[in-house]
């Protein structure tokens, strides 16, 4: 990813030097042409084509915004209910993510969506302890995180 991005920038600069005019428009043209070349040669480079990763990052961001809006309305409903019939609880969540930044990102995303809050990470970085405002069903809460954020983060780091 980082190498392909650097190569793309290098090709864009090279295009500017070959064209002999140094402005932003020419840089963008060179960048697009470099992207086409890298896309054509993608099997020659290690990893996958880096635009796929950027699309995955944008997808993760949009998903986070949508989850944030949805979860806020859920909390609003809980707050405005006259009856207190919610079931708070703490559950264990075994994550498959390995790297430090992935675990941090997942924890922050879980914490920023209202209704769930990461309380602790185990010493071996394999288990998150999550406090939930309202969990009628633990397995459903686990699977919703697994299919949602964790899958999206894996898409980014694949």
């Amino acid at each position: 990813m980082a190498f392909q991005l650097l190569l793309n920038f290098f090709l864009a600069f090279l295009w500017m030097f070959m064209a002999g005019t140094f402005n932003l428009a020419n840089f963008i043209i060179g960048y697009f042409l470099g992207m086409l070349v890298i896309f054509g040669m993608r099997r020659f480079l290690s990893g996958r084509f880096y635009m796929g990763k950027i699309v995955a990052i944008i997808k993760l961001t949009l998903m986070f915004v949508w989850e944030l809006i949805k979860a806020n309305f859920e909390v609003l409903l809980i707050v405005l209910k006259p009856k207190m019939d919610m079931k708070p609880g703490i559950f264990k969540y075994d994550t498959e993510l390995k790297k430090d930044w992935e675990i941090t990102l997942l924890s922050l995303l879980i914490t920023l969506t209202p209704g769930t809050l990461v309380m602790d990470v185990s010493d071996d970085n394999e288990t998150l302890y999550i406090h939930a405002l309202n969990i009628p069903d633990v397995n459903q809460a686990v699977s919703s995180i697994k299919d949602g954020f964790e899958k999206a983060i894996m898409e980014v780091s694949r």
């Binding site: 430090d100 941090t104 922050l108």
Partner: protein, 141 residues
């Protein structure tokens, strides 16, 4: 007392500390025309170092940045005094500043002022004193 797992705090610190230091440099150079300057820039840099101290420990911190902060304070004072004393070489009173406009590539026409040198002294003194205070308090168990 078992040590807790600080993976979230440490990972966030790795990113945030760079942003704070860059902002402190911006504040340092903004001091001539807009709010900012050596003092607030130095405090902001020290704040980034304190954040590192909070999320790691003093041993790791000394490995990352092997500075002697007492010496840094002394160097800062020396720079400030020499900037003020430099005016005596030109037969003008102590602390007289000089400035001129220079054509620097990338920046265009910029005024270079000897007050910047004095401010660098202030900046180093503030970082040195803040870190000395915090480290001596932290080490005395």
């Amino acid at each position: 007392m078992k040590k807790t797992n600080d993976v979230i705090l440490q990972t966030v610190t790795k990113i945030i500390s760079f942003i704070i230091i860059l902002f402190s440099i911006h504040l340092f150079f903004a001091g001539h025309y807009t709010p900012g300057g050596g003092f607030i820039g130095g405090l902001m840099t020290a704040a980034a170092l304190v954040l590192l101290l909070l999320s790691y420990d003093i041993k790791t911190m000394n490995k990352i940045l092997p500075f002697d902060y007492k010496r840094m304070t002394a160097i800062g004072l020396l720079i400030a005094v020499l900037t003020a004393a430099g005016a005596l070489l030109f037969n003008v009173p102590f602390f007289t500043h000089a400035y001129d406009y220079f054509d620097i590539p990338l920046l265009g026409e910029t005024s270079l002022h000897t007050a910047v040198l004095f401010d660098i002294g202030v900046y180093l003194v503030v970082i040195g004193i803040t870190m000395t205070i915090i480290q001596t308090i932290g080490e005395s168990e």
